[in-house]
Amino acid sequence: MLIEKLLAPRELIEAIATVLFDYLQVPIVYFALEESLPLYVTGGFTGLCVDLGFQRTSVLPVSST
């Protein structure tokens, strides 16, 4: 599993996937979203994830519907 930011450039993700699949022979990859991960700790389905990081601060509402 790899962790990516929501607005990470598409070229970057494609490049990472290419390297993993074609050169490192990885069978499966999951690109998880950095902003929504804290919500899994709370065990809920709906919440407002506020991430106060060093490089950026992001706010992402997550809802199960």
């Binding site: 998880a32 700790v41 706010v59």
Partner: protein, 241 residues
């Protein structure tokens, strides 16, 4: 996931930049980080009221703090204003169009559907390294309650009593990691992960919408077809009865 309401605001880097400017720009980044980690604080409650009053700030200013930052051979003298400088950056003046975390959160909620707003404001999951600054969470909820009195957030005002930050057992600066390990332990992950064939077929799926959650395209189609099938079955059973 509601990516349309995603927004960004001032971060730890801007905190360090502001402090570097205050100190005359002579310190390296690791030294500044060390200073912030050791001395920075975010005023809230009574202290915030005192800091807003110039006369009382003068009294607080008299005390100087001397400390030697990481990797530096000389001491640095800091004043109280330096200690509370992160608060100025993170909770800027909304009317002057400065970055303000609380305003960012409220703007994000404003862009959500009415039904969701109450649930969202009562389940704030705050993570990240900046949470380690003492007083940040208290100030965040306080500032949100204060901003709700402004004209632009009038529609959110009834939610004032519901502002709540979710408490977890884990340290806030590691929430992304713990969340990642919880998520990685889910048994369903294999089904939704991107396989080599999927990638060769259509590259990485879009980040927005259903494709993001069910990362591989074949699993999305599978889910859709199973949904259709269950709908058909429902229709059949309804018609039969």
């Amino acid at each position: 996931m509601l990516a349309a309401s995603f927004s960004e605001s001032a971060s730890g880097h801007s905190v360090l930049q502001a402090l570097a400017q205050d100190l005359g720009g002579t310190l390296a980044l690791p030294a500044l980080e060390d200073l912030v980690a050791r001395l920075a604080l975010i005023p809230y409650g009574e202290l915030a009221v005192e800091c807003a009053d110039p006369a009382q700030l003068e009294v607080l200013q008299r005390k100087k703090y001397r400390c030697r930052p990481l990797g530096s051979s000389t001491d640095v003298q800091l004043s109280f204003l330096h200690r509370i400088s992160p608060a100025k950056v993170l909770f800027g003046d909304v009317e002057a169009d400065e970055d303000n975390i609380a305003a960012t959160v409220l703007n994000s909620i404003l862009r959500c559907e009415m039904v969701l707003r109450r649930v969202l404001i009562s389940t704030l999951v705050v993570s990240g390294g900046l949470c380690m600054l003492p007083g940040l969470l208290e100030r965040l909820t306080e500032e949100m309650a204060r901003l709700l009195d402004l004209e632009q957030y009038a529609s959110l005002r009834p939610l004032k009593a519901h502002i709540n930050v979710v408490e977890t057992e884990f340290s806030r600066n590691l929430l992304v990691w713990t969340g990642g390990s919880v998520f990685g332990a889910l048994p369903a992950l294999d089904r939704f992960a991107l396989t080599k064939e999927d990638f060769a077929h259509g590259g990485v799926p879009d980040r927005i919408g259903e494709n993001y959650l069910f990362a591989s395209r074949s699993s999305v189609q599978e889910i859709h077809s199973s949904k259709d099938r269950s709908l058909d079955r429902l229709k059949d059973s309804l018609l039969a009865s």
